[in-house]
């Protein structure tokens, strides 16, 4: 039986700022809920291909598993992505969480 497919998003770091960005339909956003989702293996390859078209804007692009909230928006599936989203837990004021994003 085929393994259940986990939805994915594409993420990376902004070349200039170094901060975390998510791919959303031809552009990059800092809001995880706007991340575009790949819901099938075919969509996954296509998403990574399109997200990799910005080599001078975003670096270290990769796909990562997401869960969906009630509105069908991406939330991190792994704690590493939680920390990337929120910033350092020892200094929350420096992360996105502390800046109201």
């Amino acid at each position: 039986m085929a393994k259940k497919f986990n939805p994915k998003m594409a993420t990376g770091n902004d070349l200039l700022e170094g901060d975390v960005v998510y791919f959303s339909d031809g552009r990059w956003t800092r809001v995880i809920g706007e991340a575009e989702l790949a819901l099938s293996p075919e969509a996954e390859a296509d998403l990574l291909g399109r997200a990799s078209q910005f080599p001078n804007q975003v670096v270290g692009v990769y796909l990562t598993d997401v869960k969906l909230d009630d509105a069908g928006r991406a939330v991190p599936a792994h704690f590493r992505e939680d920390f990337r989203m929120l910033g350092p837990s020892n200094r929350p004021e420096h992360g996105r969480a502390g800046q109201g994003a």
């Binding site: 170094g18 901060d19 590493r80 350092p88």
Partner: protein, 553 residues
């Protein structure tokens, strides 16, 4: 303090200019990320979880007020007002912007500092005993040798592309305060049978995935032979070390697989060929370097104030070590305030430390591998004034060598390689034992925490070592016990299955209670007790029978 000569200054400025051009070309797209990545790493610039990170070398941990103030300035101007001192005695800034990095590097060059070779497969920053020049038990100041090695290894073309990173430390006493035997090469300054100066050389130490204690390769090397001998070691490593698997590429694996006796033969053969090629210029350079490490103009003995407050006395007992002069002390300023991030200092704190060094302590500061700041030469009569000013800045925590003086790597709060957090675990342990009021009762205790197997937090040589892992998407912490990072280096032993984030602090508390129960008297330290009784009582405390059952279920 070693000052750059014209050559050093021109070299460092040249590198900044080159990197400025490379950043500009990356920003305009002329350089691809694949081309730029090795270049930025060679200049100490990493990309971490939330931002770039710039790692700046602090050679042999030595700073003066001018350098410390410049670090504070950089923290304010281009970062978020703080820096993180590391177990390699470097400082890391966590939030620089790519376009600003060339300006930061220029600001560093203004005070004879740089970020070269703080990353990549090259010879990294050379470390030394943080009590160098001040310790009562040292034969001579190890820093001139460390500076010679820094000059020799900086931009050495033959060692720019080693199989893996390479770390060297230098000490000059019996007692090892620099974790010497966890280095690729450890150099200990000794005296020969006729009291002639020389070195004892260790090779093949390292922590990480496969921890190994360095082995002695030479019991005595005449002083003038240091560079040819170290080049011989590096050449054997460069030729014979593995490059097919990064986890097997450190020299410790080569030494282990070849056997120390065979490895020694290879090095000695190479050394005999190499020795005639060295004409003694490096010894002239060494003598010049030695001239920049003259001891400060120590003052004559003056009386201490007769009555000391309880807080001050406790801080002196815990944080001030014996200096080679009786009326001086070595002050360790704890960057482990209860609940604070180990190794972090704000720009205000950095400026205060600079002021104290300048006003009271012959303008010298050191970064220790235990992530604290040392004022190596303090006339004891100034201790009350220093204490008061540290206290006002939240820097007078009296906990050096105690359970809350924890080494913690940045872990998953910053580091892209991390598998779990380390900082909050350290914060919670410190808070818990502070709340219990047990720190002094427990006595000497070294807890060291790493956020992945790379072991930047030296967990293998902690009396209690904690390694954060990712077990099926959940943070899990493995405990090792009985590690030791001194002249009697021992790699700690794994206690058993790991603990979740919520369970790790209670688990540490159970270990400590077990120790307090089984120690013969308060004089028996945790590590002595562990050596006497072994793992069993601690295992029983960590895994009581009912829990063992539910864990297995």
């Amino acid at each position: 303090m070693y000052m750059y000569d014209d050559f050093d200054a021109a070299f460092v400025r040249g590198r900044v200019a080159e990197f400025r051009d490379q950043v500009a070309r990356r920003l305009d797209g002329t350089l691809s990320e694949a081309e730029f990545l090795p270049i930025r790493l060679k200049n100490g610039l990493y990309l971490q979880l939330h931002a770039y990170m710039l790692r700046i070398a602090v050679p042999y941990g030595t700073l003066d007020s001018r350098k410390m103030r410049q670090l504070a300035y950089i923290a304010d101007r281009w970062d978020k007002g703080y820096g993180h001192f590391t177990t390699r005695t470097n400082i890391q800034f966590n939030w620089p912007k790519l376009k600003d990095v060339p300006d930061i590097l220029d600001a560093l060059a203004d005070v004879d500092m740089h970020a070269i070779q703080t990353s990549g497969n090259c010879i990294r920053n050379v470390t030394a005993d943080h009590f160098a020049g001040a310790a009562a038990d040292e034969i001579e100041d190890p820093r001139p040798t460390a500076e010679l090695l820094r000059q020799w290894s900086t931009d050495h073309p033959e060692f720019a592309w080693l199989g893996r990173k390479f770390k060297i430390a230098v000490i000059a006493s019996e007692h090892d305060r620099a974790v010497l035997k966890s280095h690729d090469i450890g150099v200990r300054i000794v005296r020969g049978v006729a009291d002639e100066p020389g070195y004892e050389i260790f090779v093949g130490g390292g922590l990480g995935r496969t921890p190994m204690v360095a082995k002695q390769i030479r019991s005595f090397l005449p002083k003038a032979h240091l560079l040819p001998y170290l080049e011989s070691i590096l050449q054997v490593y460069n030729l014979q070390g593995r490059r097919d698997n990064k986890y097997k590429a450190r020299i410790k694996i080569l030494v282990h697989e070849t056997g120390i006796d065979r490895f020694r033969e290879l090095v000695e053969t190479r050394f005999q060929e190499k020795l005639p090629q060295f004409n003694g210029v490096n010894q002239k350079i060494l003598r010049r370097i030695e001239g920049s490490f003259v001891p400060p103009a120590f003052e004559a003995a003056q009386p201490m104030p007769p009555v000391l407050g309880a807080g001050l006395q406790s801080w002196i007992d815990t944080n001030v070590a014996a200096h080679r002069l009786d009326h001086y002390g070595i002050v360790t300023v704890s960057l482990k305030g209860i609940g604070e991030t180990p190794g972090d200092a704000s720009s205000d704190q950095m400026r205060l430390l600079a002021d104290l060094a300048e006003e009271y302590a012959h303008d010298e500061l050191r970064v220790s591998h235990e992530q604290n700041i040392v004022l190596p030469h303090v006339p004891r009569r100034h201790l009350p004034a220093i204490y008061d000013r540290l206290k006002a800045a939240g820097l007078a925590t009296a906990n050096i060598g105690l359970i809350s003086d924890i080494i913690a790597c940045p872990g998953m709060d910053y580091c892209a390689l991390a598998t779990a957090r380390s900082i909050p675990v350290a914060q919670q342990i410190a808070e818990r034992f502070h709340e219990l009021g047990l720190e002094h009762e427990i006595g000497p205790m070294k807890i060291k925490i790493s956020g992945c197997i790379n072991a930047c937090g030296h967990h293998h040589v902690g009396h209690i070592g904690i390694l954060g892992l990712d077990r099926a998407g959940v943070e899990n912490y493995q405990i090792t016990l009985g590690g030791d990072g001194t002249e009697t280096t021992v790699i700690g032993e794994r206690a058993g299955p790991g603990f979740s984030y919520d369970e790790i602090v209670p688990a540490i508390e159970r270990i400590v209670s077990a120790y307090l129960d089984v120690r013969t008297d308060p004089e028996e330290t945790f590590i002595e007790c562990f050596r006497r009784v072994g793992m069993t009582p601690f295992k029983e405390a960590l895994y009581p029978p009912e829990e063992a059952r539910s864990n297995a279920a």
